[in-house]
Symmetry: D2
């Protein structure tokens, strides 16, 4: 029987991207270990555990854990933290062992780990979107007056400019950046078995705070074991990111049709059977990501109704959809920021298509020029917003 | 053949609620007319149209339009604005007629109308959540030390308090209020046919601004015909609202089981066949809303990839899911704020169930008391947040 | 405050269609009454109730019930059957009253009613798809050799024929018809409060059988209160129907672009702002339906996990999504069967576009002719299947 | 940076199951190679390629291909078939090389491969469901008269039996088996670049038929590049499978609550923090699968609207959701068939809970006995169906 390993074969939109490597099982496992180490640090800092516990924190990172073994050992207890804890305990001095995982529950460690992974990905996404926005701002400026037929419901509608269309793309990216930034620092989880962290006694808030500090994340006001707003927020940020990228891709797909001919990907994708074709592959891949994100988000949305102190299924259903979303949105952002600058825009084709419209309307070029005379005002508004977002 | 009218028969969670009446076809139609009236006002204010146009704005509201006729007449053109415009033009003085809908496109009017409806609903939701939060804050205080068995993965886990659980509910409602507040003022749309409002010439921004002012909404930096972040934002706010309410309901459903017996709805629902039952009907209805919201949100998420200047299907697919979401989340918020205060909590049962746990663990009551000794710290943190949210 | 009534304003794809009127609240209510009447008939037929109960069945249909009042009265108990039963009891002779709803539970009546409504819609869908398939079969024959550029990933790919493309459309419709036919007779529900129909004693199967006969539906082997395969099956049939129609519409949208020009809707939709445009409105509406169906189906899929003998929320969450799906798929089928025959195909444009491909490839027309020489084989296979489906 | 490999860490429901190994990237890759080999066989069998091509088919299986390299090389062209073809060509004699992938397109190979993988999984699912159904049939018989309180909307409702409940479970499994069987033999794809297989000339149907035979699958009437009914059908089968398993799990979750105590998993899951707990882990995992399946199915449902001869994004969006669904449903079926026989049912607890109901109703045990007197009739109907399904 084959190995059950996935290495990206069915996800070309994310294969080879930074988001992919930030979200692999090894990365998740490393984040789980980071969380357990930070807990040792926090327990010592808060004076609950002896200093030796804090000292041992650093050694956890070097414990060798095989992700596949852990995955298999996770089956009886239902999550990978359960088999991880004894492995970590056996790697620290005997007097420290009891402080490993002290006061925490599996969900604390896995949620904290997934938020660490998510923060890493979202910082990368923000970086990619920043590059993308920079390119789009330049395109707005350079193509500000470049005539283009605007299309609605597939039909040629009125004269516009490529700069105007690019301003729309840029405005979407701004929206995405704003939402993404709300997720680059995320909450840690340390509620303990039922959310009230009773093992920490009166020092619960201090431990929580030290734990968050050790990880560079945020301390929540209260346990979010069953208050999944951070997860729903992430889902929104990733959906908006995917949509902002795929909106550009969707436009390029129409602009790249043979009869339209207004744009083509610089290095069009090969076909396995038709040598003459230059497929708009990157646009297709980005669109494929945006088609999956909202449905995955819906799993997270339903899981936000989590009964009692920790639910029987809702939480377990979150892990894979969330990771897949990080990968798809991260892949879409990286791909778009990479391939868009190589897209070749054909201004002659744009003019030719505009000519078709003028003929259909019985209008002359002067009319078209008048139509787009004030387009720059809107482009400028978006560029002003650009300053606000990145200035 | 029957009339195709829907009056709420299949949606008891929203039947009779304020959200339902705010979102009926008549309400949407009235908002469309409001948008057209505000455009007249804005055109006059910006000096594009004569003062008579502004004067006529008020008369539009009194035009009689039959929603059903409009719905049927919408079929050929694909949206209800197209048949509405001539009806409105015929209701104003001849010299004003040409200014009705001037420079706008159907999507401007319908999007603006749906945002007006959404703002109305979200203000009501905020109001209902405020009442709900107030009740929960009292419950946190009064039940702060009331023992309760915390449950995880359906199992009795550790001692906690009803106040601690209520604090979790309250924290979720705070999250919802915060997100809902970002949507009580929403953008108007006035991009014109292709987003650049060319009919307004250089006065586009002024008209847009006056239009937003006339409606008490927000003027966007640029057209959002194909930048659907406001819609995705709404979907998130409504999903979070539904989840916050349904989290409470889901907990009550477990607490209300015969063998658990910790809570029951004050006026339990009758059964059509079993007179002895007091069904937790309101909880069931609230849960039913939260089960539908995320899937509807996924339609909106996919529609956010809107090609060209106005898309061929994505926008049309938004209307019904958005309206249904407003109704479901609005219904859930109103119901929860109404029925929760009547829920009867049975502290004896909570004690009895705690006794089961102590027996299973071989612990005595003193241990339980110690376990919950510091729970109040977490309750207080949520109450502090309450001051911040509503203070 | 406005009336909360919906009359189709936000759903032009279904406004005015047969599916819309078959699924209105009045139609659902009438089906509920039909179910209660059939139960009287069945009870008498099985010898449980006196003949007078059977005689009274006919009179139920004439009971005046206001759907809106019922919707409002449904709120306390959570479903509209609860307030309906006393209304019906008061309309029959006193000795019959106790037999109204005898042995049934609310879910029996509402599920049976929704299946009646669904059967009605699916028979209409089958009829519409039959008309559509007939037209497509003719198109396959008439356009069998009409050259057309086949397109993949938006790019011109190879020569094909309009007949070949139409055969693809037809094959999808055949698939839909086959699935739809599995749903034109659906199960009734008569499990009683907990599925075992104890009130019927040993005569349960006889009553169930008579109940199904009275309604022209199917008797299930056992209660499906929590075995929702019929609902998931319906969801699949409606999704496949919507997709079959929208596949055609999606192709027409590309073919109808100005630069492609291969097809246009006979009576293109007007624009509210651009008089020159002939929007592909019907295609857009059909696509808008297919974009909503799968998400609604996902609500039904999640509801198929229905705990205990009747679940606390899962069932209540089904009603609206199922009704909306019936309406969207029914609307899509009716619209497609109606507008497609009026679509004008422009064979000159197809030839012109093929010329572009030949130029790009450096090929001559003879090559194109050779490429499509054997296309007819595949068209014939689909036409053979057509005979099997409808023969 | 970490390796991007996934080994099941976030999917304990499928980790270590047969379905997992049948769906790993290596398995998909092997199926792709099988498809290319079968094409060589078919081309030779149909007399298009020389016998040497058929002879070389066997050697393809031994070509070493690294899935990760292929995944990375898939990015420019957008799918893994493009970089695979040259690797395979270089592994066969020079005169055979041109016949590798002859007449096919990437989608043919990947779709055929995914259907091979799906058939493998569904045969395993059928096998697991058969075991499960066998156990349930025994349980129906042995627990036929074992009293149990039936519950509706979380409330105790009426007396029933464990056998009756098990019959409901069994009936759901029967439904699933029936749907799964429609998918154990699936169509191959061999439409060539645009669906008409022009490279095969008049021998297209013969090649298709030989291709299907070589793989033990079905030859479709026509290309399904854009007719995705087989994929939607698979999605339904997997959703129904997941729901049938999760319905059982959901019931066990309620039955396993401390205060109910009617069932517990034989080897309850450990907790990372609470030694006394025996979590119903396997039930939780099975439920977590069913929560993800319908949303993933919705991606496939939307992708069924695939424009032109091959779409720009819809197809690419299918691969991962389909694979994930196979794994989740396969994992759920294997887990359920494995853990259910070890569940311990506590008949004393069932009696005790029934006592609560009798007290609440003021009824005596004789009444309860009468209530369940005829339950066996319904159990028998399901057992009769069992004979039909498996007889």
């Amino acid at each position: 029987m084959s190995q059950p390993t996935d290495v990206g074969l069915l996800s070309p939109v994310s294969a080879g991207t930074v988001a992919e490597s930030l979200t692999g099982d090894d990365a998740v496992l490393a984040a789980m270990v980071r969380a357990e180490a930070a807990l040792l640090t926090a327990l010592a800092a808060a004076g609950l555990a002896p200093a030796s516990a804090g000292d041992a924190a650093g050694s956890l990172a070097s414990v060798r854990v095989d992700a596949r073994s852990l995955a298999l050992d996770a089956t009886p207890g239902g999550n990978p933290v359960i088999p991880l804890v004894p492995l970590l305990r056996s790697a620290v001095p005997e007097d420290v062992a009891r402080w490993v995982h002290f006061g925490a529950t599996s969900q604390d460690v896995l949620d904290t780990a997934l938020m660490l992974v998510a923060s890493d990905v979202l910082r990368q996404v923000e970086s990619d979107l920043t590059v993308l926005a920079g390119f789009l701002a330049s395109l707005c400026a350079s193509a500000r007056s470049a005539p283009l037929v605007a299309r609605t419901l597939t039909q040629q509608a009125l004269p516009s400019t490529l700069g105007m269309r690019a301003a729309g793309w840029l405005a979407s990216v701004h929206d995405a950046v704003r939402v993404v930034r709300t997720c680059t620092t995320l909450p840690v989880s340390l509620g303990g078995p039922v959310g009230h962290g009773s093992a920490f006694g009166a020092r619960g808030p201090a431990v929580l705070s030290a734990f968050a500090d050790a990880l560079g994340q945020r301390a929540p006001a209260s346990s979010w074991h069953t208050r999944r707003t951070p997860v729903v927020g992430l889902a929104t940020a990733l959906t908006v990111t995917g949509a902002a990228c795929a909106k550009i891709a969707a436009d390029l797909l129409v602009m790249g049709q043979a009869e339209v001919g207004e744009a083509c990907e610089g290095s069009g994708g090969a076909s396995s059977s038709m040598a003459h074709k230059a497929n708009p592959t990157q646009s297709v891949l980005v669109v494929s990501a945006a088609r999956q994100l909202p449905a995955l988000a819906s799993v997270l949305g339903v899981s936000a109704v989590a009964e009692q102190e920790r639910p029987a299924g809702a939480w377990h259903a979150e892990w894979q959809p969330l990771r897949t979303m990080l990968r798809l949105a991260g892949g879409a952002a990286e791909r778009t920021s990479t391939y868009l600058p190589d897209v070749v825009f054909d201004h002659d084709a744009m003019q030719r298509n505009l000519g078709l419209l003028l003929t259909a309307l019985g209008k002359d070029p002067a009319w078209a020029t008048a139509e787009i005379a004030h387009v720059g005002v809107w482009v400028d508004r978006v560029l002003t917003d650009h300053e606000e977002v990145f200035g």
